[in-house]
Amino acid sequence: MNTPSKNIIEAGENKFRNLIMEAPAILCILKGEQHVFELANLRYKKLVGNRDIIGKPIREALPELEGQGFYELLDKVYNTGETFYGNEVPANLIKSYGRVERCYFNFTYQAYINANNETEGILVFANEVTEQVEARKKIEASEKRFSNILSQSLMAIAIFTGPEMVVTFANEPMLNVLGKGNDVLNKPLLEGVPELKDQVFPQLLTDVYSTGVPFEGFETKAILVRNGIPVDAYFNFVYQPNRDVDDTITGITVLATEVTEQVFAKKQIEESENRFGMLADSIPNLAWMAYADGNIFWYNKKWFEYTGTTLAEMQGWGWQSVHDPEELPKVLIKWRASIKTGKPFEMVFPIKGADGKFRQFLTRVLPVHDSENKIYRWFGTNTDIHEEKKLTEEKFLLEFAENFSHYTTGTEFFGSLVTYIANKTNMDYVFTGELTEKEKNIFTVNTIALANRGTLVPNIEYQLPDGPCEQVMRGTVYNYPKQCKITFPKNETLVQFNVEGYVGYPLFNNEGKAIGLVAVMHEKEISNPEYVSALLKIVAKRAEFELERNIITSKLQAKNLELENTNAELASFSYVASHDLKEPLRKIQAFSKRIIETENFSDKTQDYFNRIISAGERMQNLIDSLLDFSRANTTERIFKPCDLNAIVEESKHDLHERILEKQAIIKSENLPTINGVYIQISQLITNLLDNAIKYSRPEIKPHIKITASIIEGKKIDHPSANNQKEYHTLKIADNGIGFEKEYANKIFELFQRLHHMNEYSGTGIGLAIVKKIVTNHNGFIIAEGKPNIGSTFTIYIPTL
């Protein structure tokens, strides 16, 4: 197609292209879906660092635009045909040297359409506005900073201009404290805030304006209308004149801080202190107040009445003049420590009265904290305890009695006694000791309890000569508050314990003989020896009693132990003896029987051998019973539940042959389980059953009945019955030969027999064992009988 019209078109196109290429804007044409650069003018090429972009899709040509939204915008414009206008849109672009720069553009993306009304490409038209945008941003930032300074300041700031005091600036805090809105701006002050008219401020402002001398206000009261209500507000503020270049005053800058809350808080404290002062004046104690640093600024009336001083004399640390100079250093140390640590102070010390006499006061000082928990005051009271001190001894006695009435054992008593004295007196060493005569006229003291600075330590033994203790043993209280080591240079104990002060008190037995002592030793001089010796005197009586009791108890214990050992030896002796006696006896019997079995003797010889055998049997029975009796003493007394039903069955089994022989009938009710030594209870039952079978009447079958019940001790008519206890009752009744009433007790005695040997084969030990076992179980036994009717043995054993 090479027609003139085509030429004309081509010429037009070229012209257009040239126009575009040289246009003072940034221009390019992107074609097709991929936005291929078809054309880009010089400025565009410069913008993208003269990269070779023509014929390339934009994603390939300008890859740094990825993720910035431009590709997507182009796609949208291409697909919809709608034009997009961008205003100050930022783009990160590589302009040159591969460096990404942030640029801002105003631009349009416009679709161009071919003859078929199809979108063929996009025309891009852009102006770079980077410089303008950045300049504006800087200005905005600095403006923001400035306005922040003024308007966000917590301090209320305002600028009044001209003699009319027109409010040309007021930050938000200023508007807030005034209780106003923006409408006060650009109006004279008194027009916008008319309530200030009759207050001090208009005059002050006028003065500053006319004189040029700044004014500073401190906790100045202003009445302001807030939320429609007039309120009192307090301010610290400055009026600062503003001057022109020619030094004429143009207005006033106001800087103000509201301090209303602080002022109110202070007023409240003042009020409460006033109220408190009135209250403190009305109490009977001396009272005072000090600042946090300990400077006393106020005393109540009672203080001045008692001391006869004035506030001027007493203020600060002037109170020292009414103190005892001896005591004062201790008071000062303690008081300064309290001020330093903030801890309450409590101490007893004398204070001089108007009459020049000292009386004892209990002084208590408490810190007073402010809302931030910091100490801002000390409040002290001095309570006159002079009269009370006279009661101390009585009080002490009571306390002492309470403390020591419940200690039973000697060691524990003395331990608590010395710790008690140590706590009361703060002495380094407190001890009680027992005097021992080791050899003739050589005495030592063995401590029973020794406290070292209030803590019990192991006991010691020390020699008496040449020490204060020797003096104590000879007389009454010995008081050496100081210089002990010098007074008793030969005494090793004093040197060893580095003793300076000593107070001791002897303990006497009821014969008036010194048996021990109670004493304190101190590494420093004892400052209150009278108190210490009074204390020792009070405790001595109780300690004497305890010490004597201690001595007697330990003697008794030694005797008891001796006795127990003797008993145990005896018991084991009889056990071994009877056991060993049995052996030769067994041989005598065995060989005697062998002889008459194997040899043929005359009748007489036979009879003699039978007598030997019979005597041997009796002796064996006797030894067996003795063995049982000593066993009733020696077996370990471990109590455990014993089921009497089972025990009766066992006994019946043991006595099986005798029961068969005599055709005895033994009946027992449902019997209880009792606490006891099983082997002994078993022996008890066996012996009683054996007894009942043995002493049956000839030709009458033994009937034995065992019954049980529980009975209260007070219902039993027997000297051994304990009214507080409950007893198991076990009755064993038979229909045997019985006995005369007069023998009821005798039958329980060892080797007591009521019958001739040939009648009944008893050893006289069985019932003695029974009685022994019942006694072992803290019970008792009663025997009742009627001749030829029967006997009943009743056993009482405590249920617990």
Binding site: R586, Q589, A590, E597, G616
Partner: protein, 136 residues
């Protein structure tokens, strides 16, 4: 049953024991030792072991308890049934020796005939199944 062994320090008891055995079975060999130590040493070197051992408890040098403990540690000897033959009638002794592996417990009677009966009972018993017999 060919051979029995009595360990007892009491000569009288050894005599009575042997007489009783003689009456029960005259062909039965009865060896004796007077304490645990001698018995143990004899048994260690013996060519023919006894079928049963009767052991007194209270003996000098080595008592019955110690002998029992010793023999039960021996591989071959511990197969021989051992029983107690004593004057003691203390339950604790019976329990203890049973625990140590004794298989019977008889008390020495005063009556020879009773002794004979007791021994007869033991000799006719079968101890192969850990049977335990108590005749007191």
């Amino acid at each position: 049953m060919n051979k029995i062994f009595l360990i007892d320090d009491d000569a009288d008891d050894r005599l009575l024991f042997k007489e009783a055995i003689e009456l029960i079975n005259p062909s039965l060999q009865c060896d004796t030792a007077t304490n645990g130590k001698i018995a143990f040493e004899n048994l260690k070197v013996s060519a023919s072991l006894p079928d049963i051992i009767f052991l007194d408890l209270n003996m000098p040098v080595m008592n019955g308890f110690d002998f029992l403990i010793q023999i039960k540690k021996e591989n071959v000897l511990n197969k021989i049934p051992v029983g107690i033959f004593t004057t003691s009638n203390i339950l604790r002794d019976k329990e203890l020796t049973k625990e140590f592996g004794a298989q019977f417990f008889i008390t020495k009677p005063t009556d020879f005939q009773v002794l004979r009966k007791k021994l007869q009972q033991i000799l006719s018993a079968d101890f192969s199944n850990d049977e335990y017999i108590s005749i007191t």
